[in-house]
Symmetry: C2
DNA sequence: TCTGCCAATGTAAACGTTTCAAATGTTCAT
DNA sequence: ATGAACATTTGAAACGTTTACATTGGCAGA
């Protein structure tokens, strides 16, 4: 007997029927203690473990949820997955994880694979939530899903996010409040992230409100961490900026590094702010100023939300969680003289 | 017809048998182009997607691998999972991800859940690879598995890792070479990570070789990022250290932060070195000196390795990948005067 | 003793695949 | 015309569960 023991084997061993065994395993309460004991003894003796695939085939639901994130390399997504996992674990749900690498093309393939697995529902962070074929597919097939970090325009889609535009608005304002008038936003490419665009909108709104005309934008491929060249002109050129607003903390950390590489100090010469609130931001020097979102909590919420949808709860609601500005020291007051000196130095 | 279309539906629609449909889907080459066309038309028309659970039940293998990591919050593991995912994706394998949160108790539960899913094999990063009940279970059940980051004592277990002791030895030596004689290692608790212990061993070996008697050790819970108190005495006390070797880069970043909090500069007053080589280490100031392991590559390798075992390749081999020291500037030459000044300053 | 009821257990039919063995058709040399 | 050889296709039996329904037996009430 080399193959794995099945329920039938347990039944034979315990002299009971396969149905009783099944009941002992799934509804322990509905079976007399003695029989349960016999069965569990056989289970232990044979080292039996239920084949979940048999169950999944029979049952209408699989107690499995699919998760799609752009990448695990950015701690903001890794942390959200942690939250999802925790909550899933507590509920005895299995998580199927995939990543798109920010590639809209791969999103469909990944979701397709998840659907083939007959997941009960999905948690997705999409490149672009609006006009997305994946969203259309899911709606058409009536598969419950929750968007995470996306802020779709349509109101009938469940989504958990912070207010992206407002986050960017706030961090930008924090710089403006310190006297900065010449700012650039460093953002991931808009095609790869609607968050990027929304955050850029918030950045622009803040500048507009302050009556600042000049709006610089530097876009980089996702995963790129070398900002030395992309920022050269804006840091050293004739109309050099004094503040860099980054659409993610990862970019902010890279921006600080680039400033240093150009001989500029942060926040002495240039101020830098980020968005996301990844934990490492609080450990580096200067401590990163960021619009912090409750990332892990958002993951948990997303799963809780999804469970509701799976249970049949209708009318998906979007949830905008509050963000807050962290008290870092990567944003400083403008000091015209210091900035001039360092920019002429090169 | 609200329920999902099945293969039977496709067969009916295309006027062919269910067996032919199956063949078109699984072995497209072995079927005349015309019939294939008819079938795929029906598939498209019905929006049919194969139910993987049906297949998994019938087949002996599931084309699914289970992955267990301590946490995704540490980029070193997140990155390795990225590597695993990439390779799995290319092979059309599904990844089931779980995390133990460094808790040995939870390892068994997590692996058990993965086995219930009938994964074809496992990639595990265990708290402690030696005398581990999970390892025993897997060996007993003859489930292929590969350890990642673990360096087990037994030679008959497949494992992919760098040489942990040697990594620590090298980074420690780098400090000694700069004149440091008073060193501490900051490590995660040994019960939660055999890597920690192995790295501590390497640290000790380097000190021994240099004839340094005093071996300081500070152990912290995993996930802990506040080292201000744990390091207070060793940074400010009478026999303050000049160098901190950390068993992970995350700890190293936290250690640098703690030094700053105590008014000490890195590397001016204290040198700090890490192990792992997480990417953010290269972006912060000072650039982190670290014993770098090819994390993502290790993930890919682990999966490639696992595929071999699943295919029946016997005699699992361990693989020690090379590490290298990164050229950072968190390790500086000893400057007795400077160190004294700053330590008396407080 | 019989009836009816209830608790405990068992029987058997799915669930959606894959795949072996068998059936059907087609081609071609004889 | 016959049948061998082959290319296609099909029927049907698993795979390991869950669960509606049937069966069993014990026991209370008459």
């Amino acid at each position: 007997m080399s193959s794995k023991p099945t329920m039938r084997d347990v039944a034979r061993k315990s002299g009971l029927s396969i149905a009783t065994v099944s009941r002992v395993i799934n509804y322990p309460g509905e079976v007399p203690a003695e029989t349960a004991e016999i069965v569990t003894a056989a289970v232990r003796y044979l080292n039996y473990r239920p084949n979940i695939n048999g169950r999944r085939l029979k049952m209408t639901h699989t107690r499995t949820v699919g998760v799609l994130v752009p990448t695990l390399a950015n701690p903001v997504f890794a942390t959200s997955v942690q939250g999802i996992e925790q909550e899933a674990n507590e509920e005895g749900l299995t998580v199927l994880l995939t990543s798109s690498n920010y590639d809209p093309e791969r999103e469909m393939g990944a979701v397709s694979a998840l659907l083939n697995n007959r997941v009960d529902g999905l948690i997705l962070t999409l490149a672009n939530a609006d006009n997305n074929p994946v969203v259309d597919l899911l709606l058409a097939e009536k598969i419950p899903f929750v968007l995470l970090f996306n802020q779709p325009e349509r109101a009938d889609i469940a989504a958990i996010s912070v207010d992206n535009a407002q986050s960017a608005f706030d961090i930008t304002n924090a710089m403006i409040a310190k006297g900065h008038r010449s700012l650039v936003m460093v953002a991931g490419q808009f095609e790869s992230s609607d968050r990027s665009r929304q955050r850029y909108d918030g950045f622009c709104r803040a500048l507009d409100q302050a009556g600042i005309e000049k709006k610089h934008l530097v876009q980089v491929r996702f995963g790129e961490t070398d900002l030395v060249e992309p920022l050269r002109d804006l840091l050293l050129g004739p109309d050099a900026v004094t503040g860099i607003v980054c659409s993610t903390d990862m970019l902010a950390i890279a921006a600080i590094s680039a400033c240093r590489a150009h001989g500029l100090s942060v926040p002495g010469d240039v101020s830098v702010g980020g968005i996301d609130g990844i934990s490492v931001g609080g450990l580096i020097t200067p401590k990163l100023c960021s619009a912090v979102q409750p990332t892990q909590q958002m993951g948990r919420q997303a799963l809780a939300f999804l469970r509701g949808l799976i249970k049949g709860q209708t009318n998906p609601q979007s949830l905008l969680l509050p963000h807050h500005l962290s008290d870092g020291d990567s944003i400083g007051s403008i000091r015209g003289s210091s900035r001039r000196r360092s920019s002429t130095r090169v």
